[in-house]
Structures are given as structure tokens and as C-alpha cells.
């Protein structure tokens, strides 16, 4: 068996690696179907406005222009995007038009599309478009969305609430009464765009003779996109085919269906047979596309003098922007179940009201989703430590769940792991005691140094579907051809995470063949007819389990065929390498596949098609865990925060390809640091974006991050046969929360108890100045 694929262990690197590293990747902007037309979108310059008129004649007459489209023209071929299927409880999702009809609801909403022979000509023509907008008062601050007599972002809803959820367990009020101290603090996180290096893009073509729409999109969820587009284009799903080319990063920003994708499809139908392409500009990406939602609220913790938490509550407002993004797996209350984090707290309550505003639509990216609660609880732990003058690791240790499995009071079930061991390992690897000591002595010399810890419990693969509010399953098909080569098709394919490699290895292992005998098909809704997507932490845990199931079933079938050929019964068939043997008789894997396809050797009634499909539905959500220790130093002259040390210990369950996991962990840490120190997507008082290029949107750079010390203490989960918990945003959020905690720790000597992210130089400089100015340390 030694020549066959192993399911885990040494990394073979990315299967797609050589292709990508030599510039042979095929990203959406690299697709150039012949005769392709280019779309340029004209967007609202106002955050909220009535559309008086859009005059198109001048633009239409511009050289190279094939057409100029507004809502009126597109209405002949498409309807607005709408939520398909049951909405999660207490949720309202107004339809989202391809192009705004009467009203523009955020600065950047698409109003018109100019289609031309080249991007340059489309852009030039757009300058001739006369858009007449009447500005209306808008809602830019989420808090004001809930006031009386304020404008409604969607008049038809008669209010600005998008959704609400309350997750609670135990009696929080009693907990606060019994507590020796009750601490409260307002905490907030800004909206931001995660800024993958590749922007979004879409190509569509209408085949009139077949009445079929072909779509290529840089998406995380091809099947979901197909369903949405088919619905809006008034087509059966079987008439829409979505392909995914290489995706240059996504981080939650390429999920679901967007108006731009619909605009391109609608135009493709009108200008058929010519294909149509739209590639998002960096400005459109940073300023106008779906962002991570902002959230703010009141945190309240009840604690005993000895450091035991009795009760925690968080009452918050989320800003989802002008439309609720139509994404799969929309399950905001999952966040609430994680409010207790790794801690045994008798009572907890999280109540969130999400409101519509005249800001760009916002969804779960990184920590805006399931891990948001992780940040809240980890800030709470540090507030408690500061108030009781306890060490922040001690407070955490005191409150940890001693043993898993355990269920929190908010009904999150942690099936496996060992929090105490993770804390011990992180303390040991980071040399926490030494760092503490060093911190104090540097402080005495006047340096602003801080140490921060965060223990994050995230959500990897969610499940089961009846609880998550959306499909939690994934499907995979494994097909073996007559020559023995195998193909894997799945709806949950990689978006630049290297999953092709791992999925191929899983299938090869189960089939008993070498990994290079298996190819993973590109995401294509026609070859894989049903699927959910690659997002959150589900890819390996859920998709990998589906691949494993399909490959195992197929291997059983092959054994059955072998039994027939070897004139024995199936339980006497063994494998020797790839071959099938029974006693001294043997049939090679290749011969077997050939014979099976020839059908001559098959039992009557059995299929010559060597193919199995398997659907895996997780029976619970996996909870990856990550603990992060960060040390920062603040330059009191400039306010600049530098991260000096990062140490991360993780339990992501079984890691099938540690090298790939480590690459993602390191990337996650760098992003976490960026979220803490740099990322925010500020808008002016008039709702105009202040970040349009990477000159205004700072990102993590090679010199801005230290070396990361990372290690793993895995405990396999029982929730899927691979034992993988997935990664999700757990590591990112652990790094983020620990850096924020470290920043506050550095400012503690000045009397600071909390700082909201991002800890930009300007913000920190102001804090330092105002504290010192008023006679602080």
C-alpha cells in the first residue's frame, strides 16, 4: 500500500501550485471570449436620492458603444434579486434591483450600465451620461435608523430593521444581582472591506438557440449564484450554468449573488450572441461592494471578587447597509451561541438588531460573522482582569470549561478539545511569564508596551441544516473512467485555499490509488449539479467528508465487480496496492475499470458507470479553537502600534495537510493584525467613501508583521469522518482580539480600559495625548 495516497501527513504542496506560480492561472479577468463586450457601471454619487432622470442619448452615440441600459431596459429580461426559500426568522430582505429604479440607496449603487467594445470606450461614454438625482435625507448612523420619524431606507418595509435575534441562557439579571462587580462598556467594530487581491468579475453569454445562460464568476458559491440568477432571469435553474475560474482570494466578499452579476447576465441576454464581461475596479471593490458589517453595543459583565464570571450580556446594533446581502448560510444568531467563548458562565444573553442604512450592503466577512462574539467575550475577560487587577491568563483559566465535550449556556456544543492544555501550551511557547516581566521593565523605562491574549472558539463547518437556517450539506461525485483515472466533482470547491490538493488526496486514499490518478474538476454547476459552496470553515470538513463518502462507496462497488471477476464473494476481496486480490487470484485496478466499463463482467442489473455521489450533512457545528498571544509596542510620538511578537496555538481538529493549514493560519494572523490596526472603511458625513484605492486603505505588508510562532494541538472532531474542524475565521479573530487586548494593555498605565478597532496611529496618538495632557502617567 505504500505507493498509494496517504490521507494526511507530508504535504505535497498545492496541486494548482505550479500553474499559479508560473502565471498560468486562469482568473476571471483573463477570460477573453471572442467578440466580448465590456460593461462599465454608472453609480450613484448620493447616499440616498430620488432618481429624476437618466439621459442616455449622448452616451449611446459615443464611439464604440453598443448600448446604454437603465432599470427600464433591463426590466424586460430580469427581476430584482430575491431571497429564494424561507428567510431566517425575524428577517426582512427587500428585493435588490440589478439597477436602481426610483431611488438610489447608497453612494455607489449601480444606476446605469454602458456597454462598449472596450473598457476605455465604455468609461469614456459614461462621462456623457446625464444622471439627475434629487438628494434625500439618509440614514448613515445605524443608531439613528431606529429613531422615530426618520427616513426609511426601504419605504415598503415601514421601518429599518433587517433582522433581530436574541440568544440567551440562564438568568442574566440574577447573575448581575449576585455579582460583586458589574462592569459595562460600549464596544464597536467598524465596517471594512476585506480586499482580496483579485477583485470580483463576471462573464456571461446567452445561447439563444438553446435558451441557455452561461456564467463565469469569481464566486465562492456557484450553485447558490445559479439559483439566484435563474430566479431573477426567469429561467429554470437547468438553463443556467455557472463556472468558477481561479479565484484570487475572497474572505467572504464573493459570496452570494450581486446586482453586478445580474446586470451582466441581463445584458448578455439582450446583446446575444455576444458575451459580456465586467471586471470590478479596485475603487468599486473597496468603496461600493459588499463589506463586513459594522457592529456596536453595550457589553455588561457580572463577576465575583475572585474572578468568576456570573453573567454576561451584549446588546448591539449591526449595520447591514442598504440591502441585506443575499448569501448562503446566512445565520446571524450563530454568533450569539458563542458569546460564552471557552468559558463556563452560568448566564449569557446576546441581543442584536440589524438595521438598514444608506451605506453599502454588509455581510459576514471574517469576524463579522460567527466569531464576532469571540471578540466580545475576549474583551470582557480583559476588562474583568483590569478591574480586579488579576492577570489576564489567570482570569481565563479560572473560567475555562475544564472538560469537553460541554455545552455552553447559550447551547453551543463543543464536542472535542482541551482548553486548559491550549492555554498551557500558549503560555509555554510564548514564554508568557518572561514577556510579562519584560513588559513591566520596559514600562518602567517609559515604553508603552502591551501583552494581549485571546482564546477564540469559532465555527468551522455548520450543521445540521434544520438548525442553521440554510443548507449545511455538501455533495460530491467521484467518477472513474475506463482507464482508471478518477475525477472528483463538488459544489464546495476551493477559492484560492488549495483544497483541490486535499480533496484529490482524500479520494485517492479511499479508492486505494495514487493521488495523481485523481483530478478535481473545476467548479461547474453542470458537472456537479448540486452543491452549496466553499465558505466559512466548511470546505475540508464538509466537502472533504462528502468526497470521502463518495470515494468509499465507489471503492465498495469496485470490490463488488472484482468479486465477480475473481469468482469469489466481496468479503474475500483484498487490496494489494491498487490491485484487487483474492487468494492467489488478482485483477489490476486498471483492468478492473476497463472490464467494468465493458459491462461484460458485471452482475446483471448493475451499472457499468463507475460513479458515486454522496451527500454529507454534519450533525452539529464544529468549533475550531485558537489561542493567540501578541506583544505590541506603541510609539508615543506617532501613535503607531508595532506588533513585536505573535504566538498562536490552534486546535482545528485533524489537519490533512499541515503545510496548507499553516499557510492559511499565517495569512489569518496577518489579516487579524490588519483588522486590529489598519482596516476600517470610513465614510464621510455625506456617506461618501473615503477609501477608493490602496493609498487610502492600508493593508498588512511584509515589514508590518513579525514572524509568527504557530503550533497545533489537534483533537479530531467526531462530527465528520475526517475529524477536521475547519478553520473559518477563528485564527484571524484570535489574532485580532489579542492585538486589541495588547494595545489596551499598553495603554493601561495611562488609565485606558478599552480602545475600539482599528487602532490607527491617529487614534492612538490622540488617546496618548489626551491621557498625558490630563495628568496621566
Amino acid at each position: 500500500m505504500s505507493t498509494n495516497a496517504r490521507i494526511e501527513g507530508e504535504s505535497t504542496g498545492l496541486e494548482e501550485g505550479p500553474r499559479l506560480v508560473s502565471g498560468c492561472g486562469l482568473f476571471i479577468a483573463d477570460l477573453r471570449p471572442p467578440e466580448v463586450l465590456h460593461v462599465h457601471l454608472v453609480r450613484s454619487l448620493e447616499a440616498h436620492a430620488r432618481i429624476r432622470s437618466i439621459e442616455t442619448p449622448a452616451a449611446s452615440a459615443s464611439p464604440g458603444v453598443v448600448g446604454v441600459f437603465t432599470h427600464t431596459e433591463l426590466a424586460f429580461v430580469c427581476d430584482p434579486l430575491e431571497w429564494i426559500g424561507p428567510l431566517p426568522p425575524n428577517t426582512r430582505c427587500p428585493p435588490r434591483p440589478a439597477l436602481a429604479q426610483w431611488e438610489a440607496r447608497f453612494a455607489g449603487e449601480p444606476l446605469a450600465a454602458v456597454v462598449a467594445e472596450s473598457v476605455a470606450e465604455a468609461r469614456k461614454a459614461a462621462e456623457g451620461l446625464e444622471v439627475n438625482l434629487e438628494p434625500l435625507p439618509g440614514i448613515l448612523e445605524p443608531e439613528s435608523a431606529l429613531l422615530q420619524r426618520v427616513p426609511c431606507v426601504h419605504v415598503s418595509l415601514g421601518g429599518n430593521v433587517a433582522y433581530q435575534f436574541v440568544v440567551s441562557g440562564g438568568d442574566t439579571e440574577e447573575g448581575f444581582r449576585k455579582a460583586d462587580r458589574v462592569l459595562t462598556h460600549r464596544i464597536a467594530r467598524p465596517r471594512y472591506h476585506p480586499a482580496p487581491l483579485e477583485t470580483r468579475g463576471v462573464v456571461a453569454r446567452w445561447l439563444e438557440s438553446e435558451k441557455r445562460l452561461e456564467v463565469w464568476s469569481s464566486t465562492e458559491s456557484p450553485h447558490f449564484l445559479r439559483a439566484q440568477l435563474a430566479g431573477a432571469m426567469r429561467l429554470p435553474q437547468s438553463a443556467v450554468r455557472v463556472f468558477t475560474p481561479d479565484v484570487g482570494g475572497a474572505f467572504g466578499s464573493k459570496l452570494g449573488a450581486t446586482p453586478e452579476e445580474l446586470v451582466v447576465c441581463a445584458i448578455a441576454r439582450i446583446v446575444a450572441p455576444r458575451p459580456v464581461q465586467w471586471i470590478e475596479t479596485r475603487e468599486e471593490s473597496l468603496a461600493f461592494s459588499t463589506q463586513a458589517r459594522a457592529t456596536s453595543g453595550e457589553l455588561k459583565v457580572g463577576v465575583r471578587e475572585d474572578g468568576r464570571l456570573l453573567s454576561i450580556s451584549y446588546d448591539g446594533i449591526d449595520d447591514v447597509g442598504a440591502y441585506l446581502p443575499i448569501v448562503p448560510g446566512h445565520n446571524p444568531s450563530a454568533e450569539g451561541t458563542l458569546l460564552c467563548g471557552a468559558y463556563q458562565i452560568p448566564a449569557a444573553r446576546m441581543a442584536v438588531t440589524a438595521v438598514f442604512t444608506n451605506n453599502p450592503p454588509a455581510t459576514s466577512c471574517h469576524g463579522a460573522g460567527a466569531c464576532g462574539a469571540g471578540y466580545i467575550i475576549e474583551r470582557a475577560m480583559d476588562l474583568v482582569a483590569a478591574a480586579l487587577e488579576l492577570d489576564c491568563v489567570e482570569v481565563r483559566r479560572l473560567n475555562l470549561f475544564r472538560e469537553l465535550p460541554a455545552t455552553t449556556v447559550t447551547r453551543a456544543r463543543y464536542d472535542s478539545g482541551d482548553f486548559s492544555r491550549l492555554v498551557d501550551r500558549a503560555v509555554e511557547r510564548s514564554q508568557y511569564a518572561v514577556l510579562r516581566h519584560e513588559t513591566s521593565s520596559r514600562r518602567r523605562k517609559g515604553e508603552l508596551v502591551g501583552l494581549g491574549v485571546a482564546l477564540l472558539v469559532g465555527i468551522g463547518a455548520q450543521g445540521p441544516s434544520r438548525e442553521t437556517g440554510g443548507p449545511a450539506w455538501e455533495a460530491a461525485t467521484v467518477h472513474v473512467s475506463a482507464d482508471g483515472s478518477a475525477e472528483v466533482f463538488t459544489g464546495g470547491l476551493a477559492c484560492g485555499e488549495g483544497h483541490e490538493t486535499v480533496l484529490a488526496r482524500i479520494a485517492a486514499h479511499a479508492l486505494g490509488v495514487k493521488a495523481d490518478a485523481v483530478r478535481v474538476g473545476r467548479a461547474d454547476t453542470q458537472t456537479m449539479r448540486a452543491g452549496v459552496g466553499s465558505f466559512g470553515g466548511r470546505s475540508i470538513a464538509t466537502t472533504g467528508s462528502a468526497v470521502l463518502g463518495a470515494a468509499r462507496a465507489l471503492e465498495r462497488r469496485l470490490r463488488g465487480v472484482a468479486a465477480g471477476i475473481l469468482c469469489t464473494s466481496v468479503e474475500y476481496v483484498d487490496r494489494d496496492g491498487a490491485d484487487f486480490v483474492s487468494g492467489s487470484r488478482r485483477v489490476s485496478y486498471r483492468d478492473l475499470c476497463l472490464l467494468a466499463h465493458g459491462a461484460s463482467q458485471l452482475e446483471p442489473g448493475s451499472s457499468p458507470l463507475l460513479e458515486e455521489t454522496f451527500v454529507f450533512e454534519p450533525q452539529g457545528s464544529t468549533h475550531p479553537i485558537s489561542i493567540h498571544v501578541a506583544q505590541v509596542v506603541i510609539d508615543s510620538e506617532t501613535g503607531e502600534v508595532s506588533v513585536e511578537r505573535c504566538c498562536n496555538v490552534r486546535d482545528l481538529g485533524r489537519e490533512l495537510d499541515p503545510a496548507l493549514v499553516e499557510a492559511q493560519v499565517r495569512g489569518g494572523i496577518a489579516l487579524g493584525i490588519e483588522l486590529a490596526l489598519l482596516a476600517g472603511s470610513p465614510r464621510g458625513d455625506d456617506g461618501q467613501p473615503l477609501q477608493r484605492t490602496f493609498m487610502e486603505r492600508p493593508v498588512s505588508r511584509a515589514q508590518g508583521v513579525p514572524r509568527f510562532d504557530i503550533s497545533s494541538l489537534p483533537t479530531p472532531t467526531t462530527l465528520n469522518p475526517l475529524g477536521a474542524k475547519g478553520l473559518g475565521d477563528t485564527v484571524t479573530m484570535a489574532a485580532f482580539a489579542s492585538v486589541m487586548n495588547a494595545v489596551v494593555d499598553a495603554l493601561r498605565p495611562l488609565g485606558v480600559l478599552h480602545v475600539d478597532p482599528p487602532a490607527t496611529p491617529e487614534k492612538i496618538w490622540r488617546i496618548v495625548r489626551s491621557c498625558r495632557g490630563t495628568g496621566g502617567a
Binding site: 498560468c24 499557510a663 484605492t693
Partner: protein, 166 residues
């Protein structure tokens, strides 16, 4: 008004007519069909459009195609010799320094330039040389490690890996 441009890209001569405002990166992609050079920002920040022009590594979104007239350009695709990866490319793969791979054009060329300029660069120097390229997926460390793993390799190998015919 169109202007003639004659360039040698990856050792092959091309002649095209372009608008004066055509950027070098668009020229490579749209006119020559070389898609290995990416566009990540259009404002000279991200480095996804790095190419080598007459031995100088630069951002192709900051140059006009007409400025490349008569020049020798090397793009990411041009680093392959007889289908073999350049040592820098192999080192990056070995360290798992690419995830989505969109940044490869920037990372590979910046790494190669760093090694050519300073064959035994220390951690800080390598990081400094990567200042102009963004990678959103890997946290840079594996890239730095890949470059450093080559630090001891003879300079000639690195140069010749790319342009053996010169």
C-alpha cells in the same frame, strides 16, 4: 492616433500599434494575451503587475506601452525555461508560499530581484524588498522563508534560470 511599439517579451519579438495612453500592463494582457501579469490596484500599490524591463523590475501599471518600445521585457511566464520552474518559483512552492496565487506575478519577480541584488539578504532586507507587493493570503512569512532558503544559491543560477539564452 496609434503608435507603433516593438518589444521583446520573454525572448519573443512583438510589433503592435497602440494608443498613447495604453499602459504596459494592459498591453501585455490585452494586446499580447500574456495574463500572468495581474492588475490588483491600478494605482501602483500592490505589485501584482511587476515585470522586468531591460533588467529593471518595475510596476507595469506605472508605464506606458510606448515607453517600452525597443525594450526587453520579462514577465512571470518568461521565467519558465523548457517548462522548468525558476528556482525562485520552486522555492515558493516548496514553502507553500502561495495560496490563491493571484500575487504570484509580484511576489516571484520581487523575490527574484531581491536575490539578484543581495544574494544573502537577511530577514529584514527580504521583507523590505517585498514592501511593494501585497499578498493577502499568506502573511508573507513563507515568502520570506522561500527567498532566504535561496540566499546561499549562486547568483548565476538565479539569473540564468530565467534567461539561459542570453
Amino acid at each position: 492616433m496609434k503608435y507603433p511599439v516593438a518589444v521583446s517579451v520573454n525572448g519573443r519579438a512583438y510589433r503592435r500599434e497602440v494608443e498613447a495612453r495604453t499602459l504596459l500592463v494592459d498591453f501585455l494582457r490585452d494586446h499580447l494575451g500574456l495574463f500572468g501579469t495581474h492588475v490588483g490596484c491600478e494605482t501602483s500599490q500592490c505589485g501584482a503587475c511587476l515585470v522586468t524591463l531591460d533588467g529593471l523590475t518595475l510596476k507595469a501599471c506605472t508605464r506606458l506601452a510606448v515607453q517600452a518600445d525597443g525594450a526587453q521585457v520579462t514577465t512571470l511566464e518568461g521565467l519558465l525555461v523548457d517548462g522548468n520552474l525558476h528556482p525562485v518559483q520552486s522555492a515558493l512552492l516548496k514553502e507553500c508560499a502561495l495560496t490563491c496565487g493571484f500575487c504570484a506575478s509580484g511576489v516571484v519577480l520581487a523575490a527574484k530581484e531581491c536575490l539578484e541584488r543581495k544574494p544573502v539578504a537577511g530577514e529584514d532586507e527580504v521583507r523590505r524588498s517585498l514592501e511593494g507587493v501585497f499578498c493577502r493570503c499568506t502573511g508573507y512569512q513563507p515568502i520570506v522563508d522561500a527567498v532566504r532558503s535561496l540566499a546561499a544559491a549562486p547568483v548565476r543560477d538565479l539569473r540564468d534560470g530565467a534567461t539561459a539564452e542570453l
